[in-house]
């Protein structure tokens, strides 16, 4: 692989030593907890209940003593009861998209908008953006954070922003072509659709367009989708992660190494926890992602449970950034199974099954209870890679998978290799689990 040129918006912060970062995070955490305790009755009540005082929180290690926040808390204290700043200091309201019932809203002070813009400026820069770039934002500009986030980040860099908002694909493509868009911000599914439409129209991205990269987020996607988007549009497709509760897009972002998303750790602390017990898990272990904001003043968040499943790593990235990286979101805690008391995520099994080309064969987990003991059967559709002409070869593949599942997930399973297309396909989201336990 050739060495890529990496642009970094704020090298002093983004490449800070882990020790200095720890110190900075600890100071900011302590100040934020104090702010929360003194200004938000809910935080005060929760911390009192947990027997924790602001002065008990002195470093990142003390985070584990703090109570968790859930999305329901934002609904219960809607709209302003979680504000840590006077309403007059709030300069913006953003809200969550497409949820049922009451929306959740977040209030931003001038400082919070600045923090968020900085995170997005880093995000776009990591994808290669400079002030010479033309950034087309096709995220909706409205309550949803996607549009404003991308706009603010590009504006901060000094790039030329085209705030298209969503929809009207023909017009998007016309502007892209006429104005010479170099960087695209939208959802990965819309990027795919744009790419397909561009190809159908007979436009050759290499010749007729100036696109070089895209920042795609707001929904989970896969490496296969990345390859497809990069092929269709002939660009680098970078993943971004964010949520309104924390600020919006840009909480974490990929650099051109595309090896996980760097978390803006000077503004948030990320933890991975066991979703059942709430215990912190070490880097490398899959679990629920939890964020604590440490610079927000409008609506700071303490240990906010995202219910997204991923892993973290603080291995140094080739781009030079020291910020820890989060892997792709591989599932939701709702997908988690508890088998013989062990938390099992279908994504862990999938990671075992992923072949050299990065694609997992179709599989199904069948959980049952026999003689009051849980059983796990993993049905895997045979692939050409796994197939051989001797029974011994296939048995070895089966044993290998069984062994890998045992070492990754920690429980024994029965692996059955089945014919291609024999596992039923479901419309939309793939159904990976059949739980036959009568509990």
């Amino acid at each position: 692989m050739h060495q890529r040129e990496h642009r970094i918006y704020d090298p002093a912060m983004e490449c800070i030593s882990r020790d200095e970062l720890h110190q900075l995070q600890s100071e900011r955490l302590a100040a934020t907890v104090k702010l929360e305790y003194e200004n938000v009755p809910m935080y005060r009540a929760r911390m009192d209940e947990a027997g924790v005082k602001p002065e008990d929180i002195r470093s990142v290690e003390d985070l584990k003593y703090l109570p968790f926040m859930e999305k329901t808390d934002l609904r219960d204290y809607y709209p302003f009861d979680l504000l840590a700043a006077p309403k007059s200091e709030i300069v913006r309201i953003q809200g969550s998209s497409g949820t049922t019932g009451k929306p959740i809203v977040s209030g931003y002070t001038r400082n919070d908008i600045e923090v968020w813009s900085q995170m997005m400026a880093r995000t776009l820069t990591a994808a290669g953006a400079t002030k010479d770039d033309i950034v087309q934002v096709t995220y909706g500009l409205g309550l949803f954070t996607g549009g404003f986030g991308a706009y603010q980040g590009a504006d901060k860099i000094g790039a030329m922003v085209i705030p298209m908002s969503s929809g009207n694909t023909a017009r998007q493509i016309m502007m892209m072509k006429d104005l010479g868009t170099t960087l695209l911000c939208c959802t990965p599914s819309y990027a795919t659709y744009l790419g397909e439409t561009i190809r159908e129209m007979g436009i050759d991205p290499a010749k007729d367009l100036k696109l070089k990269a895209g920042c795609f987020g707001a929904e989970p996607w896969t490496e296969e989708m990345r390859e497809r988007i990069e092929g269709l549009l002939e660009i680098d497709a970078c993943d971004i992660y964010g949520l309104t509760e924390i600020s919006g897009p840009g909480v974490a972002f990929e650099c051109l190494e595309k090896q996980g998303m760097h978390i803006n750790e000077d503004h948030v602390i990320a933890e991975i926890i066991n979703p059942t017990t709430g215990e912190q898990l070490p880097y490398g272990m899959p679990g629920e992602l939890v964020f604590t904001t440490i610079t927000k003043t409008g609506m700071p968040m303490m240990r906010y449970r995202t219910h997204d499943i991923c892993t973290l790593t603080d291995d140094k990235c080739r781009c030079g950034r020291t910020f820890a990286r989060m892997g792709r979101i591989t599932g939701r805690t709702d997908d988690m199974l508890v088998i013989r008391g062990v938390n099992v995520f279908p994504s862990q099994i999938e990671s075992v099954l992923v072949r050299a080309d990065g694609v997992a064969p179709h599989y199904m987990l069948i959980v049952d209870r026999v003689n009051s003991s849980d059983t796990l059967e993993v049905q895997v559709e045979m692939t050409e890679d796994m197939f051989g002409d001797t029974v011994a070869h296939i048995e070895n593949v089966r044993k290998y998978i069984t062994g890998q599942i045992k070492s990754v997930v920690g429980i024994a399973s029965k692996v059955t290799l089945v014919a291609p297309k024999s596992i039923p396909r479901s419309e939309g989201k793939a159904k990976r689990v059949i739980d036959n336990r009568k509990l």
Binding site: M382, F387, G388, D389, I394, L417, P420
Partner: protein
């Protein structure tokens, strides 16, 4: 020295083998040899096909969703009389080779001669040892000419 064999992964269920043979039969594929290895959950079908049909058959099978591969096996010419096979296996054993599987052609090309298809623990070595002991082996050309 080696001949082409197609192997196919089959689910262990009623009708699976019939469906596959129907697919190949409708395309006019003639099987010269066939073996079925079965386990509780799956089966492996191995076939030697007539007149260079192997590549087309592989494509046909894959296009129809089968997992199939081409492998290279030895086809030894064995005297069609009592102890004929035993003598071959004696050579195999003395050469410290083991048989992973073995099956035979469905029809003989010459009276008095049987064709045994063998997958041995070390194919290259087996071919040399057979040659040394004067054991005849079918070439791909001979198979295609059948």
């Amino acid at each position: 020295m080696f001949i082409e064999q197609i192997s196919v992964f089959l689910e262990n269920r009623n009708g699976a083998l019939r469906e596959m043979t129907q697919l190949l039969g409708n395309a006019g594929v003639d099987m010269l040899a066939l073996s079925v290895a079965d386990t509780q959950n799956f089966g492996i079908i191995r076939m030697i096909l007539a007149s260079g049909a192997t590549d087309d058959a592989l494509k046909l099978l894959r296009d129809n969703g089968y997992i199939a591969k081409i492998n290279h096996v030895i086809c030894a010419k064995v005297p069609d009389r009592p102890l004929g096979l035993c003598e071959l296996l004696d050579i195999v054993e003395k050469a410290d080779l083991s048989v992973e599987y073995m099956y035979s052609f469905l029809r003989a090309s010459k009276p008095g001669e049987a064709h045994m298809i063998l997958r041995l623990s070390n194919g290259e070595k087996a071919a040399k040892v057979f040659d040394m002991h004067g054991v005849g082996m079918m070439s791909q050309e001979e198979v295609d000419a059948l």
